[in-house]
């Protein structure tokens, strides 16, 4: 993406939107908004969550220095490095220095708004380092040489035919216009890149000050690749992404995916605290966090700016915005678009550059209604309009002369009732000259901006005369016919304090059933089985998926279950412990043991250690996770209480997925294509672990 033009010209773009864009954008936004609606309806405490999230975000931003200091301290204590970048140039510089120090030729990137903001890719290209986008949508638009048109699905404006053509030209491969096959091409091409890259660059969805933890949410698994395989991980994150603690994360995580795509939770959520602790665990040797200011501190001094920075980049406001749906993301002229772009960009770039954007809204309020952190977007738009028309704190005003004259004239007329009343009597007379059948078809500029689109109604004021005549005639007064006990309306209710109890757990059997049901919805294969059925189940799996090579976690439980031995007996080659990434990439099957499971969302939680390499759940084509019912947890809350002391946690919710090509859901874009989850019933297996029945 090139340097933003000096002035964002929404008017010019919106007057001439490329024809394919509205339909593509409307298909995507309609689907997301619909799924979101369904998720919201399932969650009775939705409004409480929004209220809590809004408060958490605002409170953090009001005390950001404190939380940044704590975060910095904790990241460093975990063995990571923290860098502070005052502006985009500094952030690019810091990232480049780290890359050069490691002799980097290839850096793989997961989707990051912050790197779009600082245009990192261009800086790397100039320095002779390839910075490759790996989110499928971002990869496509990088090949196309454009910016993102939607926060969540950046290439939504391109058709499968256009993408196929792009792949043919840029990759020199035979690419059919089929989302599944195009995704497969991207998988193969990018898999090689992940294995070769010296550096992984990511953004973050949240930074938890309490433990110095980076939280990153993706669906494809590319975010995991980027933070698991290269020896160095650079995270570039806006300072506004800091949150106080894991308790806050519980609230925000429940809102994020539901608001964004209408998923209960995204496929992968990584919780990363510092670099890897042990060889063989995977994850980077070096972890660098670049905290990006780039004007955010200036925004924090302004109540409007603090409200704006509450944003968690879910894109829900885009998906319901009728203006965005008709113009698409490019109209907003910067990396962030839609209603949030219309308030964020003018504050970040100034009204001189982005002064058109606050007017690019009908103030319909649909955005504020869905915003998970309750940003009062219409109010902010109106205040930014005020600054544009009356001058912002820096004194600049961009009000056009015509607007100022119209405003001054109407203000004068409306202040003087006699003049206003005279106007109401004269306008029908004038308008009779122009109108036919009660409509005025054409008006001179600037009113032609209305009549070019639809006719204007004829002026026809007569109420005041009618009212006078009626009073003279003195109509009879009748008795009240409505019930006297009608309730009063309280227009402004005081917001109550928020208490958010975690979801209560059902019986173990209910929770297991619920987990399996959620897994089914996610296209994962869940089942419940006894140890006696294990060999048979493995045999079916080996046959169904044509498995030849496997890697198995070295946990006591999996060893006791003799999973590796059983697989060997079925003719599957099992890699010795400590296999490297290339060996794992050639594996068909990775077997892990879930440390946690959340039935409500069908989520597995996996920790990491030398015996539990992160890449085993990531690189093989098929992932089998075995768990016992005692790892089931009713709510995120309990998982976080137990997991936050660990330097690494990953949530896996179904197989890797993408909908980046024409919104067609394709499984296995980067991570495993199939996920099997076996709940192993507690059938005194420990006592009989030596007793292999097969």
């Amino acid at each position: 993406m090139s340097e933003p033009s000096p002035r964002i010209d929404f008017a010019a773009y919106s007057a001439d939107v490329p024809p394919g864009i509205p339909a593509a954008v409307q298909q995507a936004t309609g689907r997301f908004a619909g799924s979101r609606q369904a998720r919201v309806a399932e969650l009775p405490q939705w409004e409480d969550l929004r209220e809590a999230a809004s408060r958490i975000r605002l409170r953090t931003l009001e005390n950001l220095d404190f939380y940044i200091e704590r975060l910095t301290e904790r990241v460093q204590a975990a063995g990571g490095s923290v860098h502070y970048a005052a502006d985009a140039a500094q952030a690019r510089q810091i990232a480049l220095e780290i890359a050069r120090r490691h002799g980097t030729r290839l850096a793989v990137k997961s989707k990051s708004m912050a790197t779009e903001e600082i245009e990192l890719n261009r800086a790397f290209a100039q320095a002779g380092i390839e910075a490759l986008e790996t989110d499928l949508g971002e990869y496509i638009i990088q090949l196309a040489g454009t910016g993102p048109s939607h926060i969540i699905v950046p290439a939504v404006h391109l058709t499968r035919e256009e993408i196929a053509e792009l792949f043919r030209q840029k990759l020199g491969v035979d690419a059919p216009p089929d989302p599944a096959q195009l995704t497969e091409i991207a998988r193969a091409t990018l898999r090689e890149k992940f294995l070769n890259a010296e550096i992984g660059i990511s953004g973050a969805n949240f930074l938890i000050a309490e433990t110095g933890t980076l939280v990153m949410v993706t669906n494809e698994g590319n975010g995991r690749m980027v933070t698991t395989l290269p020896e160095t991980h650079i995270a570039i994150v806006g300072i506004d992404k800091v949150i106080p603690d894991w308790e806050s994360l519980t609230v925000l995580l429940k809102l994020l995916a539901r608001s964004a795509t209408g998923q209960k939770i995204s496929t992968y959520t990584s919780f990363i605290t510092g670099p890897r602790r042990a060889e063989g665990e995977f994850g980077p040797r070096e972890f660098h966090l670049i905290l990006l200011d780039n004007g955010r501190r200036r925004l924090l001094r302004d109540p409007l700016g603090r409200q704006t920075l509450k944003c968690i980049r879910c894109g829900a406001c885009l998906n319901v915005c009728p203006v965005y749906k008709h113009v698409g993301g490019f109209a907003y002229g910067w990396f962030i678009s839609g209603p949030i772009g219309a308030i964020f960009s003018p504050q970040m770039l100034g009204l001189e550059r982005a002064g058109q954007l606050p007017f690019a809204s009908s103030l319909c309020g649909a955005c504020a209604e869905v915003c998970p952190v309750k940003i009062p977007i219409p109010q902010i738009l109106v205040e930014l309009r005020r600054r544009a028309m009356e001058g912002d704190p820096s004194g600049s005003t961009s009000a056009p002369l015509a607007a100022r004259l119209t405003a001054a004239l109407s203000a004068l007329v409306l202040r003087l009732p006699w003049l206003y009343r005279l106007g109401t009597r004269l306008m029908p007379v004038f308008s009779r000259l122009l109108a036919r059948d009660g409509w005025i078809a054409v008006l001179p500029p600037p009113a032609s901006r209305w009549t070019d689109v639809r006719p204007f109604p004829a002026f026809s004021a007569r109420f005041r005369q009618w009212w006078k005549q009626r009073k003279r005639a003195a109509p009879p007064v009748r008795e009240q016919v409505f019930p006297a006990s009608a309730q009063e309306t309280a227009p402004e209710e005081e917001s109550a304090s928020v208490t958010l109890p975690p979801r209560p757990a059902g019986t173990p059997a209910e929770e297991t059933a619920r987990l399996l049901e959620e897994l089914r919805k996610l296209s994962a294969r869940g089942r419940s089985l006894t140890e006696a059925e294990l060999t048979h189940a493995l045999q079916s799996l080996v046959e169904e998926q044509s498995l030849r090579r496997a890697a198995v976690w070295e946990t006591p439980r999996l060893r006791a279950l003799r999973v590796a031995e059983r697989l060997s007996a079925l003719g599957v080659e099992v890699l010795p412990p400590g296999a490297d990434k290339r060996a794992l990439a050639e594996c068909d099957l990775g077997v892990t043991e879930a440390d946690f499971a959340l039935p409500e969302t069908g989520t597995l939680g996996l920790l990491s250690s030398a015996e539990k390499p992160r890449a085993v759940s990531l690189l093989p084509r098929v992932h089998l996770a075995i768990l016992s019912p005692h790892v089931l947890r009713p709510d995120l809350h309990q998982v976080f209480q137990e997991a936050k002391a660990h330097p690494y946690l990953v949530f896996i919710t179904g197989p890797s997925r993408t909908a980046d090509i024409e919104l067609t859901v394709t499984l296995g874009v980067h991570g495993p294509k199939a996920l099997y989850v076996w709940v192993l019933e507690e059938s005194s297996s420990r006592e009989h672990d030596h007793d292999s029945k097969d």
Binding site: F10, A11, S14, A15, D16, V17, P322, V323, H326, V327, F359, A360, S361, S362, L363, C364, G365, A366, E369, V382, R385, R386, R387, E390, A403, A407, A411, L414, R415, P417, Y420, W439, R449, D452, V453, R454, P455, F456, P457, A458, F459, S460, A461, R462, F463, R464, W467, P475, V477, R478, Q480, V481, F482, P483, S485, A486, Q487, T489, P491, E492
Partner: protein, 241 residues
């Protein structure tokens, strides 16, 4: 019960019949109506266009025009009520002389359907309208005032009325005041989508409860050469056909 009529400048200049019908319906409920003649405009167009210094005197005189009388204030426009109820408090923040007055007046200013259903508890006004109708929910009544069910309740009691839901009932029609002339092409696209949806219902009438949307939607239907007519909710409730 006494009621003050807040007729709004758009309704006064373009929809006098609706105002007359509002008087009929309210009087039929036994209410005593007052019309403060000094009213002009609540200042919303200037406020939403960014001219807050110019909107403030209009808001001030509106408050003085209606604030003297403790009677509830009723308006045929959710948009204007939203201005009075919510935006005046921004124009007159705590500490300004008008703040308390603004709070007081905000609490007793009602949109028409809100006043009937929530304040009076009335859903049946004895109307008869034997037609196939659909309904567009105006943004400021819907999201500004939180009126999601009131209009449906009122229409549910109208005799002979056949209701057809409008696809994307809650999506903005593209009016947006100044927006419609600053970005006419976007406004057009939004309006045309709304008109398409209205046509798809096969209704004879589309009910709209706000003058700005009414201007936009009826103009769009006219431009499309459609025989479907856009009417204000009040006109339907006043019908005894």
């Amino acid at each position: 019960m006494n009621v003050q009529l807040f007729i709004t400048c758009l309704n006064e200049n373009f929809y006098p019949r609706t105002l007359e019908n509002m008087v009929m319906v309210l009087e039929s409920l036994g209410l005593t109506l007052h019309f403060p003649e000094e009213q002009t405009c609540c200042g919303q167009p200037l406020f939403n266009s960014g001219f807050h210094e110019k909107a403030r005197p209009l808001a001030r005189r509106w408050l003085h025009t209606f604030g003297r009388d403790p009677a509830p204030i009723v308006s045929p426009s959710g948009s204007c009520v939203d201005m009075v109820r919510h935006q005046y408090l921004h124009l007159f923040p705590p500490g300004t002389p008008e703040h308390d007055l603004a709070r007081d007046v905000a609490a007793r200013t009602f949109e028409f359907s809100e006043f009937l259903v929530r304040r009076l508890g009335v859903t049946d006004v004895g109307a008869r309208f034997p037609h196939r109708v659909t309904y567009h929910a105006s943004c400021h009544g819907l999201r500004g005032l939180g009126l999601r069910h009131e209009v449906r309740q009122l229409l549910g009691a109208v005799r002979g009325l056949e209701f057809v839901p409008l696809p994307e009932e809650e999506t903005c029609c593209g009016f947006g005041g100044i927006f419609s002339v600053v970005y006419p092409q976007v406004s057009r696209a939004m309006m045309e989508a709304k008109v398409r949806h209205i046509l798809s219902t096969g209704a004879e009438f589309v009910i709209v409860a706000d003058a700005g949307c009414l201007m936009n939607i009826s103009g769009g239907l006219k431009k499309a050469g459609s025989p479907i007519r856009a009417v204000h909710l009040i006109d339907v409730l006043a019908s005894r056909a």
